[in-house]
Amino acid sequence: MFKYVCKRLLYAIPVFLGITFAVYALINLAPGGPLAILASSGEMSLSDLEALKVSLGLDKPLIVRYFLWLGGLFQGDLGTSYRTSQEVGMMIAQRIRPSLLLTGTGILGAILIGIPLGILSAYKPNSAWDHLGSFVSFIGASFPSFFLSLLLIYALAVKLGAFPTSGMYASGGGESLGDLLHHLALPAFVCGIQPIGNYIKQTRSSVMEVLNEEYIKTARSKGLTNTVVVIKHAFRNALIPVVTTVSLSIPFLVGGAVVVEQIFAWPGIGSLMITSIQSRDYPVIMGVTMLICGVVLAANLVLDLIYAALDPRIQFR
């Protein structure tokens, strides 16, 4: 297994380099550049613009800039933001925790509700649980997050005053856990409602498929209770596709929920990424890309290890 992990890590290096170079090239090829934004007041002199170009290193060829960025990365330096003149590492560090909290809560909630509902839907097709599962899936799939966010803000925050409209803590509050949960509720709900449909449907179909297997009939004929049959035998064997579906949420977990973070003014990675793209802040875009890329590659490796743990037929090669 150790050999397998090492091999996978080695494979990850060219993938990582390929992704980062592709992103670096694409953002540089996109129309508009950081200088256009920095000079957007329309009042910057041509001499200032030229000096800025040199001081930001934008006068160098793209390939040279990429390798300079890569060299900095290997020394633990993600560079300095064009827009804020701050260290990119610090900017990302400030944003990663709120993002993990928001998307993590949303996904956790979706797992805790979606998977049991999927099992119940599979166990009792056409029951009230099955209908509830279908309804929740339908809502999750059909409501765009920006619309749902605005709807919830209007109904629950503005009209009822039950929740805050935005932010992570109340201004001047003590940043207590209660305050955090109060602010977290609406955006986390919006983040959770979309994946929940996938989890319900995936769990339902996987469990239903397994319930028709011969070994389930054997288990039942041995006199095992329905709960034991479903949870211990059926669900466990149905887990692999469910784990795959959940794992697809990992980039979302780290990359943040762009739209939701924007609307709820949540200080996460998603809103940082959007601001950076709008201002063509290449070092920050690359920093966030590198983070997401690294996490996704690592998560894929972890996922393969989990597959092997769940299914003894899977061997490391």
Binding site: T84, L100, T165
Partner: protein, 558 residues
């Protein structure tokens, strides 16, 4: 047994990797850095608003008062020289932390004391004497002196200091066209005494004009805290993580691009702010009025749409104010290289139905523009625009316009309906327009490099006649691709004219030139709106368009 052991080991390894991954992503505690200012004199607000000494001078205890101010776009940095964007969001934010020489009134109609309590022109307008306020202090309690202002000027004109807007200061003696010093510390600022600053200019200019044009970028920095740091290291100095200024607010914490927490500076010489904490938050465009209505925001930067402002009037706990002058200028940018014949530019101006656009975009709350000068203002020469499609056609025929030619117009998504009207208007005159909806970076870039022929942009007009001079200056990275020196020459003559009557004549000449050459088409000057919570007092939402706000006069009624 062996197989079970292998599975357990695999699971443990997978969990360890997952945990390690999340822990690695967790970052440090830098999201809410503690305020080192507390140890620098005890004059700043602590990180919690209920502290007894915060903002308590001036006859009341305001330590528990929190004012929340929203922005739809983030400031760049708390380093006033760390950004080159010239963004209003940036300037308004750093204005709370650092002092400037003067305060610019709403619509740029006047200048009032701030860092300097008075000023006077000397040497026939070639220099300005600023009498600094002796009560001004840094947040650490040290006095702000003329030496600090001189040191700051020397710093920002030093080529080793990578400040992107240095040419803003090329009016100072001892600097080149790029604003950089011509010799070591050659910049024309000197401390006459501890509280008198002498600024020498290259050419004569009224003091108020200099302040209106350039004061917005000149923030004083503490020499006693920064003077020993090598200039080339200053941008990256730790100082900016917990800066000390001499403005009305002290720094508490920042989540870059999201939230800035400021305390009240009890010793601020213009008066201690009447709050314990000012929180500046970035909020979504869609949430501005709703946040005020929900009681979570006291005010926000910028003007809401007319529709939102009118809707907000019916909400309880919300005050809506209309600006006294139509200062919101919307212009149709023309690439003067691609559309080099002035008759075609004039034809565009006559073909666009400005009145219809005012009705459509502002529900009639605007005035059709002839030049960038605010209609009805002191310097308005009274040039009247009237739509005349026939005249537009004549001009196009004279210019030999090819009716099969197409102009490309870049717009942001918020201007789509306006662009459609303009497209239809110009088609009536015989000009085909291809509209390209692009995001803002693409639009700015394309206008600057000449990719697009037309574009739509918005700006905030000032009473000062040269407020838009940068757009017409051939030395700038303008959107209009200006190469004609005539605008800059006349602008310089206006700026240098000390006699008010003669200046008005020059400004009339300037407006005639703009009207004749039509380097861009000013579409309309619109009224803007300010929305705030009823509890917030002393707030003028229109001051922010001049890059400053009197936050020290803000207070709340409970």
């Amino acid at each position: 047994m062996k197989r079970n052991a292998r599975r357990i080991l695999t699971l443990i390894l997978a969990m360890a990797m997952a945990l390690g991954m999340l822990a690695g992503c967790g970052g440090d505690d830098s999201s809410t850095p503690s305020n080192g200012n507390d140890a620098q004199g005890g004059t700043t607000a602590p990180s919690t608003p209920a502290a007894p000494d915060s903002g308590s001078s001036g006859g009341g205890d305001y330590s528990g008062v929190v004012i929340t101010y929203g922005m739809t776009t983030a400031w760049d940095t708390v380093n006033p020289y760390g950004s080159s964007s010239g963004s209003l969001y940036q300037n308004v934010t750093v204005d709370t932390l650092y002092d400037r020489l003067a305060f610019i009134e709403e619509a740029g109609t006047g200048v009032s004391p701030r860092g300097a309590k008075s000023w006077e022109s000397a040497d026939g307008g070639l220099s300005i004497l600023f009498h600094l306020d002796e009560n001004a202090k840094w947040h650490d309690g040290e006095p702000v002196t003329a030496a600090d202002w001189v040191w700051t000027a020397q710093l920002i004109t030093n080529p080793a200091f990578p400040f992107g807007l240095r040419s803003e200061f090329n009016t100072w003696a001892g600097t080149g066209d790029d604003g950089a010093e011509t010799g070591e510390k050659s910049v024309g600022l000197e401390a006459v005494d501890e509280y008198t600053l002498k600024m020498t200019l290259k050419s004569a200019m009224p003091a108020e004009d200099w302040l209106i044009l350039h004061n917005k970028y000149f923030y004083v920095l503490p020499q006693h805290l920064l003077g020993d740091i090598p200039v080339e290291d200053l941008m990256a100095a730790d100082f900016w993580k917990n800066p000390v200024g001499s403005g009305p607010c002290t720094f508490i914490s920042e989540i870059s691009g999201s939230e800035l927490q400021l305390g009240a500076f009890a010793d601020y010489h213009m008066g201690a702010p009447k709050f314990g904490k000012l929180v500046i938050k970035v909020i979504a465009n869609t949430n501005t009025v709703t946040s005020v209505a929900a009681g979570e925001m006291d005010a926000f930067f910028g003007s809401p749409t007319v529709d939102d402002a009118l809707a907000a009037e019916s909400l309880s706990g919300v005050d809506v104010t209309k600006s006294s002058a139509p200062t919101g200028l919307v212009s149709l940018i023309i690439n003067n290289q691609n559309v080099s014949d002035k008759r075609i530019r004039q034809a565009i101006a006559f073909a666009v139905d400005k009145e219809l656009l005012i009705e459509q975009s502002l529900q009639g709350m605007g005035v059709a523009s002839s030049t960038c000068i605010i209609p009805g203002s002191e310097y308005d020469a009274g040039i009247q625009w009237q739509r005349d499609v026939d005249k537009a056609k004549e001009l196009l025929a004279e210019a030999g316009w090819d009716p099969n030619a197409t102009l490309t117009m870049a717009i942001g998504s918020s201007r789509e309906s306006m662009a459609a009207v303009i497209q239809q208007n110009l088609a009536e005159a015989g000009i085909k327009v291809d509209i390209q909806t692009v995001e803002v970076a693409t639009m700015f870039s394309g206008l600057q490099d000449g990719t697009y022929d037309l574009g739509i942009s918005g700006s905030t007009a000032m009473g000062y006649p040269l407020w838009m001079s940068g757009y017409y200056d051939y030395r700038n990275a303008t959107y209009c691709q200006i190469s004609d020196h005539a605008y800059a020459d006349l602008q310089e003559a206006i700026a240098a004219e000390m006699d008010e009557a003669k200046r008005k004549d020059l400004v009339k000449e300037y407006q005639d030139l703009l009207w004749d050459q039509m380097p861009l088409v000013p579409v309309y000057h619109g009224y803007s709106f300010s929305v705030k919570a009823s509890r917030l007092q002393g707030y003028n939402g229109f001051e922010s368009a001049q890059n400053n706000q009197r936050v020290w006069e803000w207070s709340v009624t409970q």
